[in-house]
């Protein structure tokens, strides 16, 4: 029983989604991207949990919530190696990896101060410029930027 308790760092979930392998320092960004503060269902957030792969990791369990691909892929901007487990009746029924979306709407701030998106009340749009180099391009000012350097809105 004891070993079992240690292994289970957070309690099990009946139905919902477990987002695992979030780098600890990216946890709260992921929380914001998924708009978790506005959710009304039971949410467990694990921070600085032990991880063999990452050292420390973050983990989010959301009861009775199943994310769409679009919602999930937004996470890829800050944490590209996250794994999503869909849970039904305490069983993992699906494991999903996140993919970088082709179009990123309303999450990333354009680093160009002369870009219209930084000066007008409007939504930013980025398109993936190069998956290999990890660069995205502003749909409006056409400037490219590295994903590692982005600021979220």
């Amino acid at each position: 029983m004891n070993t079992n308790k240690e292994a289970l760092q957070v309690s099990a979930l009946c139905n919902g989604t477990v987002i695992d392998h979030i780098p600890a320092d990216k946890l709260f960004e992921v929380v914001n991207i998924l708009d978790i503060p506005s959710m009304t269902t039971n949410v467990t957030i694990g921070y600085n949990l032990k991880s063999r792969k990452l050292g420390t990791k973050g983990l989010i369990k959301v009861a009775d919530k199943f994310f769409t691909d679009e919602e999930v892929n937004r996470i890829s901007l800050v944490a590209p190696n996250v794994v999503l487990n869909t849970i039904r009746d305490y069983q993992v029924v699906e494991k999903r990896e996140v993919k970088m979306p082709e179009k990123i709407t309303g999450i990333v701030k354009c680093p160009n101060p002369k870009c219209v998106t930084n000066n007008e009340p409007m939504t930013t749009i980025f398109e993936v410029a190069s998956k290999e180099n990890g660069t995205i391009k502003c749909h409006y000012c056409e400037k490219e930027t590295s994903i590692e350097k982005i600021t979220l809105l």
Partner: protein, 305 residues
């Protein structure tokens, strides 16, 4: 809201570019065609640009359209804090087409997405100025008889010069060889060199500007080296006269060479070049009229016979 706006030269295919240039040729034969009788064109210059504005407004007038608008944001509601969106929505109630110049990059793209009527970008900050690129292409085609397989020498400010970047992008369809001639501080940015490699466009780079460097040029595209681009004014003083074209330098140049410049020039082309038949910058500016007539008709879906 999808309409036929012209925002960026990068949106135009090879075929589209060639067909627009052909239409511009028809306007050169006869610029006065009242194809836009009864139409109203909104000319919104949030940033002053006398040359571009007069060219567009002349094009509109020669097509028989009426022009409304402003030539400076200080005389528009933008000075009262009105957003770009509100100004565009208001003007699109009145006009059949909006021609706009704005200091913010991406402003024209945004306007084209919210406006019910088409938008032509007449320059959005350092980003795009497609009618300039089209008139550059028209000038090249007219003087060389082709856009294919040309040696194009770009001289001066290759770092901030939006006209040279757009020309580079547009020429990718026509198998050019580029020669970049600029001071160290104003080198062609890496992303454009990457672009050339990706598209198999050969290019050379040098800081030297002399007679032998330009001997194989078909097109010599001069730009202004701007003082405000230099953090070290000593550097500016050193290089400002190194990229100056004089008539003597043209002695060994090819007979078909033509010299282009987006204007205004300051001192980068000596006045003694003006009388050389290879100087083409004033006709180049004139070609802007025909090209803009063609662009206006195209976005409004008007056939030109």
């Amino acid at each position: 809201m999808k309409n036929k706006s012209l925002v960026s030269i990068n949106d135009l295919s090879r075929e589209k570019i060639l067909s627009l240039l052909e239409t511009a040729g028809k306007f050169e034969e006869n610029p006065n065609r009242r194809l836009l009788e009864g139409k109203v064109i909104g000319s919104l210059f949030f940033e002053p640009s006398t040359r571009t504005r007069l060219s567009f407004e002349t094009a509109a007038n020669r097509l028989g359209a009426r022009v409304i608008g402003f030539s400076d944001a200080a005389t528009s509601s933008a000075s009262k804090g009105e957003t770009l969106k509100d100004t565009i929505m208001m003007v699109s109630n009145y006009a059949d087409l909006i021609v706009m110049r704005h200091h913010l990059e991406g402003a024209a793209r945004y306007a084209s997405e919210i406006s019910p009527c088409p938008v032509i970008n007449a320059g959005d900050g350092a980003n795009q100025h497609p009618s300039q690129t089209m008139l550059d292409l028209y000038s090249i085609l007219k003087t060389q008889g082709t856009l294919e397989n040309l040696h194009i020498h770009l001289v001066g400010d290759l770092k901030y010069g939006r006209t040279v970047h757009s020309l580079l992008f547009a020429m990718r369809h026509f198998n050019p060889t580029f020669h970049f001639i600029s001071p160290e501080e104003l080198h062609m940015p890496e992303e454009y060199r990457v672009f050339c490699r990706k598209n198999n466009i050969p290019f050379t780079e040098t800081t030297e500007f002399n007679e032998s460097i330009i001997a194989n040029a078909d097109i010599l595209y001069m730009t202004r080296v701007q003082r405000e681009r230099f953090s070290d004014l000593m550097e500016y003083e050193k290089v400002k006269n190194c990229y100056r074209l004089t008539n003597a330098m043209l002695a060994g140049s090819k007979p078909n060479l033509r010299i282009l410049h987006p204007l205004p020039r300051i001192n980068e082309i000596a006045y003694d070049v003006d009388d050389n038949p290879k100087a083409y910058y004033f006709q180049q500016a004139q070609n802007g009229l025909y090209v803009r007539e063609a662009l206006i008709c195209d976005v409004l879906g008007i056939e030109v016979e």
